[in-house]
Amino acid sequence: MKSTLAIGSVIFTISILSIPVVWSDSDFDWDKYKRKSSGVAAVSNPVYQEECGSCHMAYPPGLLPSRSWEKIMDHLDKHFDDNAELDPQTHQTISQLLTKNSADKSNYRRSQKFSRSISQNDIPLRITETPYFIREHNEIPKRMVSGNPKVQSFSQCNSCHLKAEKGSFNEHNINIPGYGRWDD
């Protein structure tokens, strides 16, 4: 009797433990889910974080097409009136990472929107100059951005998008400093 109980409880425990395993094994397509969401791919490469995230947030590569990143990387010594020069090896590592994850190569819907909004002949150097960006932000009054000492410019995505560095631009994670949460 006692041993039946023991075996029974072992079987019970195992079956309980295996529920989450079976669950996550279901054919829910996470990739497809992410592609539909408002995000772009997050890049957590430490070299990229260190070299391109020291003066401003490390912009997720899925926000600009590869031709833009190439142009940015070709002129790092004159980077928006600053100097962001890199040694040749680091330069190559970062160039490859940016091209591989760029907006035109991404299967994230949000990245494709950035990429498709740009006309073929244009090579924007700023995310904030892409037509899709401008369209998404044109309702936000100037006093909340350039007139707001805590924001100053749209270039600091993370001033408002609390999870920008993780590639998430979801409406529920927007907080404009001094004005609070954004409700449409």
Partner: protein
């Protein structure tokens, strides 16, 4: 007598352990600067340079190391162009500072160019380093 010898041994170890705690990277940089003709670095001159204001053309017409690092090296600064928070420069406050030679060289080059409009001389770098690290160059 034995006690005295032990005592003397003990105190002779103190400065040694102190040397050990000194930042190796800073000492190596001092050695490099010395080979470029730098005499004893001066924290005082370094501080003056750190606080000094330079004029430039354009939007940021007045520039200084303090533009981004604040005048108190024990406090966090803020990048004047992007608002990004920059952790304290003093290694006492922020032990990661001045521990990577490549990083120090890289930022000296960039920041001197942006702030002074030219690269810093070896003497200037040694002085600033002495100020930031509060270290002195070892006498040979």
């Amino acid at each position: 007598m034995k006690k005295l010898i032990l005592f003397l041994l003990a105190i002779s170890v103190i400065p040694l352990s102190h040397v050990h705690a000194e930042n190796r990277v800073v000492q190596n940089l001092f050695e490099q600067y010395a080979s470029q003709g730098v005499t004893q670095p001066s924290a005082e001159r370094g501080e003056k340079l750190w606080q000094q204001r330079f004029s430039a053309t354009g939007k940021f017409s007045e520039r200084s190391c303090t533009s981004c690092h604040t005048s108190n090296i024990n406090k966090s600064g803020k990048h004047i162009r992007t608002n990004k928070v920059i952790k304290p420069m003093s290694p006492t406050e922020n032990p990661k500072r001045l521990t990577n030679m490549k990083k120090v060289n890289k930022w000296f080059k960039r920041n001197c160019k942006w702030t002074f409009g030219r690269e810093c001389s070896a003497q200037e770098k040694a002085d600033i380093l002495a100020y930031l690290s509060k270290s002195v160059m070892k006498q040979k």
